[in-house]
């Protein structure tokens, strides 16, 4: 059996075995009939807590950096040099290897006007793609999902978060993404006899919200079954680290190589709020990050999918230039963003290094709005209309 036929067939048996509302079946037919399965894929890694960008991409020739961080600055000799100005934290050794192969873009000074130093608010801003003056109740990936709906029919599993609960980033106005720790667990949850009863029998009431609840459950059951069935196709041959992020990226890799039609994956790594004794903590986390990502990239390469997969890494803010009294750093503003995978880079370092002589109250000034990064990925990678998702037009960056 050809791969496409196989996928098509399983999709139909899946939908048919449960009494999924007609519109969903129609959608799946359309979906599998017309659209080529996942062409380009975006994997978002969120570093929660505010990763210290200056100790991640180190300005190792800068006197101000060493002066302001007497006990936490990364020794010049240990820095993994990218050019004669900046270099990676040694914990990012594995990322450096990818960088040397032209697979990494470093974007410096990413932020937004009037930065907010609260974790919650700043994460809110990054996840919704809002300005610091507006409050949105939907996320940028959620609105990307909205844009993929055909009429009333949408597919939650086009955006998957590897977690038990769903982040605001994946909540749309019309449809929400799906969150799962792993396909098996979600599948089990949706297969209880009682959930089946609920999806079997139609509502006796016509309130809008009741219909919405029925629709959400039907979509969840259908998506869970679809993902679960697909995920069995391909098991990874790589040895992923046993860290949470390692496991999550392993799951993502299996879903991608099995041909699940998910365009955006979302996963978080927490613990970057390093107010106290930063270096041990950050070193450990960056190493975890680098090891998991590098295996993932190699896995994609081995499966000939690397050209189609891009990993975006961000944090809600960077940290202050000056270290604090506890060998840590406090909440700051602009930060660097990484893009890993996809086509070979012509400009691995997109823009200028942070200017430590031109600070705003001790904080870095941003020069690239994070929504420019989003807009570029939406338009040029996911091939959707970024102005619809971000509600306004942003400059595009020469990323790839």
């Amino acid at each position: 059996m050809k791969r496409r036929t196989f996928l098509k067939k399983t999709a139909f048996t899946t939908a048919g075995s449960l009494l999924i509302p007609q519109f969903l079946k129609a959608y799946e037919q359309k979906h599998f009939g017309q659209k080529l399965l996942n062409d380009k894929i975006l994997v978002v890694i969120q570093l929660s807590g505010g990763n210290d960008g200056l100790n991640t991409v180190v300005p190792f020739r800068n006197d101000i950096y060493y002066r302001e961080r007497p006990s936490i600055a990364i020794n010049q000799n240990n820095v993994l040099r990218l050019n004669d100005e900046i270099g990676f934290n040694p914990a990012l050794e594995k990322i450096k290897e990818l960088y040397d192969n032209g697979l990494v873009s470093v974007i410096n000074n990413v932020g937004y006007p009037n930065p907010d130093r609260s974790h919650f608010r700043s994460m809110d801003i990054w996840q919704t793609g809002s300005s610091s003056e507006e409050y949105l109740s939907s996320g940028w990936i959620g609105r990307y999902l909205d844009a993929q709906c055909i009429g009333q029919s949408c597919l939650p599993h086009q955006a998957l978060e590897i977690d038990d609960t769903l982040s605001l980033a994946l909540k749309g106005q019309q449809v929400n993404g799906l969150s799962l720790q792993n396909p098996e667990k979600l599948y089990r949850q949706t297969q209880s006899a009682f959930v089946k009863t609920l999806t079997d029998i139609p509502a006796a009431d016509n309130h809008d919200n009741v219909a919405y609840l029925y629709k959400t459950l039907a979509e969840t059951v259908s998506s869970a079954e679809y993902v679960h069935t697909k995920a069995k196709v391909n098991k990874s041959r790589m040895m992923y680290p046993t860290t949470e992020l390692g496991k999550s990226l392993n799951t993502i890799a299996e879903l991608i190589t099995s041909g699940v039609s998910t365009s955006v994956y979302y996963v978080s790594l927490s613990g970057f709020d390093t107010h106290i004794r930063q270096n041990d903590q950050q070193d450990r986390l960056l190493r975890q990050y680098a090891e998991a990502v590098s295996i993932f990239v190699n896995d994609m390469k081995a499966n000939s999918r690397l050209d189609d997969v891009m990993v975006l890494t961000f944090s809600e803010f960077g940290r202050r230039v000056k270290q604090n009294a506890s060998s840590g750093t406090d909440h700051g503003t602009a930060n660097n963003v990484f893009l890993i995978g996809g086509p070979k880079r012509t400009r691995p370092i997109l823009n200028e290094a942070p200017d430590l002589t031109n600070l705003d109250n001790g904080d870095l000034k941003y020069s690239i709005d994070f929504r420019e990064v989003y807009a570029t990925l939406l338009d040029d990678w996911l091939h959707t209309d970024s102005t619809k998702v971000l509600t306004q037009k942003f400059n595009k960056l020469p990323l790839f």
Binding site: D124, Y135, L198, H207, D208, N209, L213, L217
Partner: protein
């Protein structure tokens, strides 16, 4: 109107003016007139029960920190760090005990309506603070003015330490104005978006300069930080102070319209009805913003009881929790589940996502929160385990909630089943459904539930039927 419809309108009032009611309360209420019932709910809430969980003065926390630093002068850094860490832990414990206390107050006692209003204002004047004393103080302010004059409430909240801190008015000074408070007071608290200019915000921010709070959480007007120059706001000029701006905001009927719209969306239906809201706004404005009068008008209007409005709302996680307590007279023995449930369903009291509050409605529901909601009744009453881990916020000061997958509750099913003694077996499931669900459910679902449940004892049958009925999609609305 048939008996079940009548019963649902009574339950509708209990849900919207509170957090639902037990079957025996509903039965009692069915024998009096609607007007009498509304009056009794208002009467029950005429007293105020303040939260007193945090016994320290609002600023005790800050004082403790300063003292620790002072005492530690010369001591080792590690010592100080440990001390501060301990204090942070105490702070977390007291904020979660405050959370428990509020949920308990919503779920028990006579003050349901006032607590429901306090919850509404908590979402309207959404605010977060690390200072637990400030949080309790603000919450009590909301409770005290919940049914009074909106103008008094607005003024009290604007001069409240937690809000001044949250919206940076402490930093709003003559030579470096901070516009955060001035913007939100117009956009979110009173007029609504689009009813003012950026220039109005700039000028109003100048009027609010000098508004701050002292270490005890009391409002202070710091004259030397105040810009007493001429300001032009909404086309009028004067040497305005903050109080003058609040007066101007109240004088504008758009404020009455904005608040009435929010009240309609929260207490009646997310889908607005312009005519009903216009009538509400007019009345609200002419009563000098009398909140109790407005709510009484809503609850005694015929349109409030239209079938489009009954069962039209998705229960918020807090309504879900408090509703359980009210319907079943149950107590959470171990308080961890109270916080855990709020976290997995996406609403933690005192932690609104931002100053705009929780978006609510459909936003409560996604695949994960819905599956958790469907599983919760079994977790609560059948001691099933729930295997959902809570997201870490990334903030090192936030509590890392330990996964607690068994809930201990106090609930007497014999008492509960007592209300249904006279109901024949064949009608039991349908009767329970009429008390637990605010919308009709398909007969086929009732049949399946009936077929599934068989127990030797009546109270056990009632229990199993209730769990199944609560695990439906229909139970998610009120």
């Amino acid at each position: 109107m048939d008996a079940i419809q009548h019963q649902r309108t009574i339950q509708h009032l209990f849900w919207r003016a509170g957090f639902g009611a037990s079957p025996s309360e509903v039965k009692k209420a069915m024998s009096i007139s609607r007007l009498q019932l509304v009056k009794s709910l208002f009467r029950d809430s005429s007293n105020i029960k303040l939260l007193t969980q945090v016994s320290d003065a609002p600023a005790q926390d800050l004082k403790n920190i300063r003292q620790a630093v002072k005492q530690n002068a010369g001591g080792s850094r590690e010592d100080l760090r440990d001390k501060l860490k301990l204090m942070a832990q105490e702070r977390r414990e007291s904020i979660s005990s405050l959370n428990d206390a509020w949920v308990a107050q919503m779920g028990n006692g006579a003050y349901a309506f006032r607590e429901k209003m306090a919850l509404f204002w908590h979402n309207h004047f959404a605010c977060r603070s690390r200072a637990v004393g400030f949080i309790q103080q603000q919450n009590n302010t909301l409770r005290t003015h919940a049914l009074g004059k909106f103008g008094d409430l607005l003024m009290a909240v604007s001069k409240d330490a937690a809000m001044l801190q949250f919206l940076n008015n402490q930093q709003n000074r003559k030579r470096s104005p901070n516009e955060n408070f001035a913007r939100e007071v117009m956009e979110l608290f009173t007029l609504g978006r689009g009813q003012y200019t950026e220039q109005d915000i700039k000028e109003a921010a100048r009027a609010f300069t000098g508004w701050g709070f002292n270490i005890n959480g009391d409002f202070v007007f710091r004259e030397n930080f105040h810009d007493d120059g001429l300001k032009t706001i909404f086309g009028k000029s004067g040497n305005y102070k903050g109080e003058d701006v609040i007066e101007m905001l109240l004088a504008n009927p758009k404020t009455a319209l904005h608040i009435s719209t929010k009240i309609y969306r929260a207490f009646v239906n997310e889908k607005v009805d312009e005519a009903h809201i216009a009538a509400m706004a007019k009345r609200f404005y002419h009563s000098q913003y009398n909140i109790a009068d407005l709510m009484e008008y809503v609850f005694t209007s015929d349109w409030f009881y239209h079938s489009v409005n009954i069962g039209a709302q998705i229960k918020s996680p807090v309504e879900y929790l408090s509703g359980l307590q009210r319907t079943f007279n149950l107590d959470f023995v171990d308080k961890t589940p109270v916080l855990y449930t709020q976290k997995i369903l996406g609403q933690v009291l005192f932690n609104p996502p931002n100053v705009a509050g929780w978006p609510g409605g459909k936003a409560w529901i996604d695949s994960s929160s819905l599956l958790s909601r469907l599983q919760l009744p079994s977790v609560l009453f059948r001691n099933e385990t729930i295997n959902v881990s809570v997201k870490e916020s990334g903030d090192v000061n936030e509590e890392q909630l330990v996964r607690k997958n068994k809930f201990e509750i106090n609930m007497n099913w014999q008492d509960f089943a007592h209300s249904f003694e006279s109901i024949p077996d064949a009608a039991l499931c349908k009767t329970l459904a009429s008390y637990l669900l605010q919308v009709p459910i398909n007969d086929a679902t009732i049949k399946r539930i009936e077929n599934k449940v068989s127990a030797p004892e009546r109270s056990e049958t009632v229990k199993q039927l209730c769990i199944s009925l609560m695990s439906t999609l229909e139970y998610q609305v009120c």
